[in-house]
């Protein structure tokens, strides 16, 4: 069988082959053209010409056809030779027919999958990676002394274990012997590209035979089959590819995600002495196993600074039949004494970070969990003793409104710090309120503030707006309330709000009153707006999930009398949502929010005043204020980034980490890991913070160095890499076909590929020889048929003479 290595892709070789095929028609075209472009010659002795022609007509035609065929063959074979076909002649060497590559050296590129899935244990108790290593070493040991070998590791980031190719086989074997699998997903396309580039760069000796062997378990998570292989991964025709057969699927349970509902936890030991707790959400995923009544034991542990568990809680999940994903929600108490004694370390702001590790028990028999490395996940929560909230109000007291003293700022203050007002004036309460003047707001006043609640946006000056924008960018919550006073300035503060925070909201100029919009209805209740409580249409905001159980009952009593018009237009790429809507026809937004920088901006479209709404007097108000503050601050992107880092990816750290020079992996001795000790990761300074010089290659917790710093990072696995199901072999074959010609590699006898290689004969050279022979035959035939006795025949000597003359002239 003849193979055209690149014929299936529109590469350069295919282009040459197509050009060759087109050129094959050139002699025919030339023949046809000359029929119409012959010179006309008047001739006297025509009778003799006609006589000769009649006598030799048949012979002439045969000669012409023969010459045409030979010429077409020359061009066609030349095109074929340029496309470098391979002739499969298995067995021919055994029969002693030919030894096509006798005397040729080989270069073998081994692409070894060292990704997470290769840590899977097979039923015989052996790790797949060890089997792949064994195969690789068997291939290397069967090479001849002159053969060169290169070894690439395909886990992300791809790297060379031994490259460029070397004849030092012992070094390659030694490097493989000590090699451990990594935790990142497989990145075979990149490894193929690197191999192809290396082969291209070292292709000085075209006669060298090249083999690329891909050694992978081909678990379902090791290759994204929906993405075509990169064009740069194509090898030229002299390269033959051998692919290890996919291994069978194995049952596996993994922690797919693990995160706290809030990353910021108030660690306030109030009068009750209650300790704070972390609300955690954990998702389990199991592969290749859908049986019922199986149990998975989940262990949550609070870790100390040395990486030792200091507080452990266990939960158990029982799988139902067909269930593959399970979400568990758990509360883990963070006792003050524990966190204190663990010497976690205090930040300058008075907060501290706590590392929580989730683990699932490994199955010692490997029946339900063949991959242990994805049984652990880490997350980080930040403890904070107090939330510092700035209440930005007007500076003039009489301007604050109600004669009863219950003006907007007062209602908010009462909602956030009720005890402080009555029983504990000293302020021993998790929320501390700092009163600030809207007219004189400056950057310094917001230092150390977590949230800024502005009840008089109409009083803010330009400096105040820019201060709030900067505050929001740094991760703060800027919450705006509609002022009760209407001095015709609503248009101005609304425009300033949207302009300052780059919002696409439309804020109305004037207040809207409920009785003006429903004059025909005589019922008093009917003319007051209520809030939408339909659970389908007004889903509980993600950040307010703590109130989910009572959400409907809390919303129902709330009525709105006055409001300003607010229209939130969804814009692509901007994270903005409406958390509360009115139950009117247009479902008008009442509470809208948008992400700005690392922080968030919010706007309530009604005033906190009883003449506008009964909200401050209803049960919803207090939990709404508290939950909003804690949720928004607890889900700060700044905190999230510390736990969303992944193995195999470069780490980016914000400006808070300035001063750190490297990251150290905190070893966790309680986990039985095959991973080697991680080397420190050096940090580089960038415009916005720090970035790591290389990716984190192990999951776990990383601390910053040099000390002292309390900063810690949690790096987790990419869940897809732990998908140990069997890959769809048909789709895999299609994917591989796009790379060119390939064949399966026999795991039991991988060296057979090397022995079979001599049976594949490159046809380019024999074809070129055939072309040369045909050219000589054509010359002789042309001479014999046409020019044998013509003095003007172009002989080889004449050609040589012309070349010499040309040389002299030049």
């Amino acid at each position: 069988m003849i193979y055209f290595a690149d014929i299936t892709t529109l590469g350069l070789t295919t282009g040459i082959a197509m050009a060759g095929a087109a050129a094959m028609s050139a002699p025919i075209v030339i023949h046809l053209l000359t029929r119409y472009r012959r010179r006309r010659e008047a001739w006297g002795a025509m009778r003799f010409l006609l006589e000769a022609f009649k006598k030799h007509r048949t012979r002439l035609k045969l000669e012409q056809i023969l010459l045409l065929v030979v010429r077409c063959l020359i061009v066609g074979l030349l095109g074929l030779a340029l496309s470098a076909p391979m002739l499969e002649m298995r067995g021919c060497s055994a029969l002693g027919m030919i030894d096509p590559i006798a005397g040729r050296s080989r270069v073998v590129h081994l692409i070894l999958d060292d990704s997470l899935s290769t840590q899977t244990f097979d039923p015989d108790g052996a790790m797949r990676f060890e089997q792949l290593k064994k195969t690789a070493m068997a291939v290397i040991e069967s090479l001849d002394e002159t053969d060169r070998v290169a070894v690439w590791l395909s886990a992300r980031p791809c790297e060379a274990l031994l490259a460029p190719a070397s004849v030092d086989h012992a070094a390659a074997v030694a490097a493989l012997r000590d090699l451990k699998p990594r935790f990142s997903p497989n990145d075979l396309p990149t490894a193929l590209v690197l191999s192809a580039k290396s082969l291209t760069q070292s292709s000085a000796d075209a006669s060298e035979q090249a083999l690329v062997m891909v050694l992978s378990d081909f678990a379902a998570g090791s290759l994204a089959l929906d993405q075509a292989p990169p064009a740069q991964a194509d090898h030229d025709n002299r390269v033959s590819m051998w692919i290890a057969r996919p291994m069978s699927g194995r049952a596996n349970v993994q922690i797919q995600s693990f995160a706290p509902r809030r990353r910021l936890i108030l660690n306030h030991a109030g009068a009750s002495g209650a300790s704070p707790s972390a609300a955690l959400e954990l998702t389990l995923r199991r592969y290749d196993n859908e049986s019922a009544d199986e149990q998975t034991q989940v262990t949550l542990a609070v870790m100390d600074q040395q990486g030792q568990p200091i507080l452990v809680r266990q939960r158990e999940h029982v799988w139902s039949a067909g269930q593959t994903t399970a979400t568990m929600q758990m509360d883990l108490p963070l006792a003050a004494n524990h966190t204190t004694t663990s010497a976690i370390g205090a930040a300058s702001s008075g907060g501290r970070t706590v590392v929580i590790r989730a683990s699932i028990e490994s199955d010692p028999l490997n029946h339900t969990d063949a991959l242990f490395a994805d049984n652990h996940a880490w997350t980080i929560v930040e403890l904070q003793s107090k939330l510092r909230v700035a209440l930005i109000d007007g500076s003039v007291l009489f301007d604050r409104g109600e004669s009863t003293g219950l003006y907007s700022g007062k209602w908010i203050s009462m909602a956030l710090t009720p005890l402080a007002m009555e029983d504990d004036p000293a302020g021993d309460w998790p929320v501390e309120i700092i009163q600030l003047s809207a007219e004189n707001l400056s950057q310094n006043q917001l230092t150390g503030i977590d949230a800024a609640l502005t009840v008089r946006p109409d009083r803010l000056g330009d400096q105040g707006w820019s201060t709030l924008r900067e505050f929001s960018n740094r991760g703060g919550l800027a919450w705006f309330f509609t002022p009760t006073q209407d001095h015709g300035a609503s248009a101005i503060w609304g425009a300033k709000l949207t302009e300052t925070f780059d919002l696409t909201w439309r804020i109305g100029l004037h207040r809207l009153e409920a009785d003006q919009t429903a004059e025909s209805d005589s019922s008093e209740e009917a003319v007051r707006w209520s809030l939408m409580t339909d659970p389908d249409r007004a889903a509980t905001p993600e950040l307010l999930r703590m109130l989910a159980a009572d959400w409907t009952s809390l919303l129902e009593p709330v009525r709105i009398d006055k409001r300003i018009a607010l229209d939130v237009q969804q814009t692509h790429g901007v994270d903005q949502t409406v958390w509360l809507r009115l139950n009117d026809t247009a479902q008008s937004p009442l509470l809208a929010t948008a992400s700005v920088g690392d922080g968030r901006v919010m706007l309530l479209a009604t005033a906190i005043d009883t003449s506008w709404t009964n909200l401050p007097t209803k049960p919803l108000f207090v939990p709404l204020m508290h939950e909003t503050l804690r949720s928004v601050l607890g889900q700060s992107p700044r905190l999230g980034r510390l736990s969303e880092l992944r193995v195999g990816e470069t780490l980016s750290l914000d400006a808070d980490w300035l001063g750190a020079e490297q990251l150290l992996h905190q070893s966790d001795q309680s986990i039985d890991s095959a991973a080697p000790d991680a080397a420190p990761i050096m940090l580089k300074r960038t415009e916005v913070g720090l970035t790591s010089a290389k990716s984190a290659d192990q999951p776990g917790v990383y601390t910053a160095a040099p000390q002292p710093t309390h900063k810690r990072l949690a790096v987790n696995l990419i869940p897809r890499a732990g998908d140990t199901r069997a890959i769809d072999q048909t789709r895999l074959e299609s994917w591989l076909n796009a790379l060119g010609q390939w064949d399966w590699l026999d795991h039991q006898d991988p060296a057979a590929a090397l022995r079979m290689e001599p049976d594949r004969l490159a046809l380019a050279r024999p074809l070129l020889l055939a072309v040369l022979l045909l050219v000589i035959v054509e010359t002789m035939l042309a001479r014999w048929f046409s020019h044998a006795n013509t003095r003007e025949v172009t002989t080889l000597a004449q050609l040589t003479g012309w070349v010499r003359r040309l040389h002299r002239t030049s």
């Binding site: 010179r39 025509m46 022609f53």
Partner: protein, 329 residues
């Protein structure tokens, strides 16, 4: 108009002749060129060679008395001279279509293409000039498949000019350019018919010079030669062929257009060259064989070569004819 020539100019070379505008001038140049180096001038000693004495009888012209003999012997003797006879020369020039062929392009000659007809007519003019100078009577016939034009046989002083005018005036306008333009002539050669017409009008034994490419069937030629032989005429055949016709040097594929309306043939000439040469060779051998079989002379002329050979051949033939007894007492 004659181009300035060097001392070494060979006026017998067709390349030179082609540069000479008029045919009479060409003929004179040729004759003078041929006679250079000969011991006897063609202009001296003709028809006054002493033969014998005889006794005077009444009525004899006393101007022929040999007074020297009378002075020595007192007897009257008359001097008798050997008077050369007038040769009747008939020039047959082929004006068929194939005679219009020329492979010698104007670029080679500097003036015009040198056709086979040019070679034949120039040869005829030169021969007639030479013959007239020797008091021979000369006639000219231009023919193709029939007699196109004929002059009387004469040795008059101005007859040579008449012959030249006839050679030039023959409307052999046919040439390669016209043939390529698709205007082939129907004028072919029919030698049997020609000789039949000519012999009917010849009452004296004559020397006939045939200048033709003889692109006729050998059978037709044979019939014509037999007729001439029967009537006792002598014949010199000058077969005029172009160098390209003899060597067929073409290489690139071409369309060959016949000058005698044979049609068009597209082919790779190199492939058919040998077969053509074979066919031509067979024809030439047949013509020569037939000519010599009847005892006539045959000379093949390459239109690219000098005219020295045919002229020399003619002079030798004339001398031989006169020596064999054509002289009269």
């Amino acid at each position: 108009m004659i181009e300035p020539q060097t001392a070494k100019t060979d006026y017998l070379d067709p390349h030179t002749l082609a540069t000479i505008a008029t045919i009479d001038l060409r003929a004179r140049m040729i004759v003078e060129g041929v006679m250079i180096g000969r011991h006897r001038s063609p202009y001296q000693g003709f028809s006054v060679e002493f033969a014998q004495h005889r006794q005077y009888t009444h009525g004899d012209d006393i101007r022929r008395l040999d007074w020297k003999v009378f002075g020595r012997t007192d007897k009257l003797y008359l001097k008798q001279y050997q008077q050369e006879t007038n040769l009747d020369l008939l020039l047959l020039v082929d004006a068929s279509g194939s005679m219009g062929y020329s492979s010698m392009k104007p670029a080679q000659t500097g003036r015009a293409a040198w056709r086979k007809y040019d070679q034949a007519s120039t040869l005829a003019a030169a021969l007639s000039y030479l013959a007239l100078k020797q008091q021979d009577r000369v006639g000219l016939v231009l023919f193709d498949q029939q007699v196109r034009q004929a002059t009387r046989t004469s040795n008059a002083h101005d007859h040579w000019r008449i012959i030249c005018e006839a050679l030039v005036a023959e409307p052999l306008a046919m040439d390669t350019a016209q043939a390529l333009a698709g205007e082939p002539t129907q004028r072919t050669t029919d030698l049997a018919k020609l000789f039949d017409q000519i012999t009917a009008k010849l009452h004296r034994r004559s020397l006939i010079v045939l200048c033709s490419d003889l692109f006729d069937s050998p059978e037709s030629l044979e019939r014509g030669l037999a007729l001439l032989k029967f009537r006792g005429h002598d014949l010199i055949v000058f077969q005029v062929l172009d160098d390209a016709e003899l060597n067929f040097p073409f290489r690139s594929p071409s369309d060959f257009v016949g000058l005698e309306n044979e049609g068009r043939l597209g082919l790779d000439p190199a492939a058919l060259r040998q077969a053509y040469l074979d066919a031509l060779g067979v024809h030439l051998a047949a013509v020569e064989d037939q000519t010599r079989r009847f005892g006539f002379d045959y000379l093949r002329i390459n239109s690219h070569e000098s005219l020295r050979a045919p002229l020399g051949y003619f002079l030798a033939k004339r001398s031989a004819m006169l020596g064999k007894g054509t002289r009269r007492k």
